[in-house]
Symmetry: C2
Subunit: 338 residues, 2 copies
């Protein structure tokens, strides 16, 4: 059996079973494989740790992204995991694999992008590793800090509303624009490029969610449909999503009339936060956050983790492509280098 | 300028200057880029963090190594960094990039190798990441714990003896045997393969060093000559090394008569500990450690960090190839896939 047949999430499940056998006595682990970040108890707080990788030709191409943007993004996607736990970042490690013919200037720009985001979000880059490789592979690990209760994927409760920060589908639209050189006006292209290549981790927003009593959240890296699915599965609940309520930016709505719904549902890489809460909390949260906060559906008691998409009239609809991003999935062979 | 011209260590120096600009207020960092692991203060102890990567075709080939051996080794080389600080490991993250056509069974074996070493050294694997990639790239990050004073690269003092644990050059001999299918007897091949692919991190030995008052150590990943050079540079000292005193295993001495000295000086990947101490401490350490402990030279007051190699008669000698392993270095193009 090839990993392409099992898929990324099947593989993670298999491996978490094998790796679950390593718990030493005295372990202070609270959350291991399966949430946005690992979490363990220190004396007076919780340490969070996460890692993420970007591979040339799979996650990016050097034609579509500048080195500086890549430096920003490899840290942004890790910081987003810390945000989704309600934590704040402290220290980062960077592992860089790159061809010997890479220009030193390119690597300098890569690190300048890292320094830029590190400064904005108070991350200190404290170490790393550089190796030769046939193509570019960027890996970062971020250690952060949180306090109990954390935001987790496993705390959603039937009856809660499902809300998201910001807009959905913009990053995937940005990838589409860069990959296919779509003809949009300069302002739109620049907006979409920024969203796709320089996502802003929702760290302050994660803090606001905690403040207003939110317990369950996930960052949307693989698309709303898939990430909500992870959250439902971990919480043992189901969900309904009203597709007409999905927050789609006007630029995406105008530029991608036929596909914007698919992009919003399963485009991925938005790095927005999806969370569950009651109406009252959401009103408080909305009044405090600078970004849009949109209710897109509701948590149900369906223990199978099923997500039902509803149209304007409340009728169940089936989307053609609602799987979201999954590594090794054959379905995504048409979207290279996202 | 290409990174191949600047070399791995020139690149690390350049980047540590750029990344040094990220220190936020309230940082508890003790050691950043430049030692075996980063270190920062927690309330009652020091947290250590390190990351290391192995790239297919550069650090290994799937012809020469089993997946299980690779799983062991990617964690072993990270644990070795924790050992070199006098720390003990706690939690590990694993980032795995691999082709879609990889067999699930291979990945299972990879993780079984990780579980094996994790259990032996009380490491808990708590998270990670799996991505598609054109070739295999394995990255692990390990978080550990230490107490002040740590073992560092910057604490060597003129007049101290330089000692190493175990044997030098065996791992490089192992690589040579696997790469060139050298004709040695089965016992020798199996010994050398084991040393090269399943190095044992010197964690207990690091604890023993601390117990007997050692302050300066480094793990030998790039070869004695290069790693001693890093230690000298960070400590602002020089060194003499008596090449006839280098501990070379009889199997390596017999099988590699012409090259064993070069292998011991600059073969790399031994993952032994090099440390500095006075005679008395070394005697105590030797009596307590199960592995050989060999004095190979002396720290000098030469502030340029120069290392002088001495022959049996105390005469300075120049070795042909004493650079050690460096990524992007042109000198090493003859030793692919180590």
């Amino acid at each position: 059996v090839k990993v392409s047949e099992l898929g990324e999430f099947g593989l993670i499940e298999l491996l978490s079973r094998i790796l679950g056998e390593t718990k030493p006595s005295g372990s202070q682990l609270i959350l291991g494989i399966g949430d946005d970040a690992a979490a363990w108890n220190e004396n007076h707080y919780i340490t969070l740790a996460t890692t993420d990788t970007m591979v040339q030709g799979v996650h990016f191409t050097l034609e579509n992204a500048t080195w500086r943007e890549l430096g920003w993004k490899i840290l942004a996607i890790n910081l987003s995991d810390i945000a989704a736990m309600g934590g704040l970042p402290l220290y980062g490690l960077v592992s860089l694999a790159l061809p010997a013919e890479t220009e030193v200037r390119s690597v300098t720009q890569l690190y300048e992008g890292m320094v830029e985001i590190a400064r904005q979000f108070s991350l200190e880059i404290v170490g790393g590793n550089i190796s030769e490789a046939p193509s570019v592979v960027l890996t970062a690990s971020v250690v952060g800090r949180g306090n109990a209760p954390l935001l987790t994927r496993s705390a959603a409760i039937p009856g809660e509303m499902i809300a998201v920060t910001g807009y959905l589908g913009s990053a995937a639209a940005g990838l589409d624009v860069l990959t296919h050189q779509l003809q949009l006006n300069d302002k739109s292209v620049s907006f979409l490029r920024e969203v796709y290549l320089r996502p802003r981790p929702r760290l302050a927003e994660g803090q606001t969610l905690l403040k207003w009593g939110v317990r369950s959240a996930i960052d949307i890296s693989d698309g709303l449909f898939q990430d909500l699915g992870h959250l439902c599965k971990m919480s043992g609940v189901g969900a309904t999503v009203r597709i007409d309520d999905l927050p789609i930016h006007p630029i995406v709505r105008d530029g991608f009339r036929d596909s914007c719904l698919d992009l919003a549902l399963s485009g991925g890489e938005d790095y927005e936060l999806l969370f569950t809460a009651n109406d009252e909390s959401i009103a408080d949260i909305r009044s405090e956050m600078e970004c849009p906060v949109t209710v897109v559906g509701e948590i149900t008691g369906d223990k199978s983790g099923h997500i039902t998409l509803l149209d304007k009239k409340g009728k169940a609809v089936v989307q053609g492509h609602n799987k979201g991003w999954e590594h090794f999935s054959k379905a995504r062979s048409d979207t290279k280098a996202r």
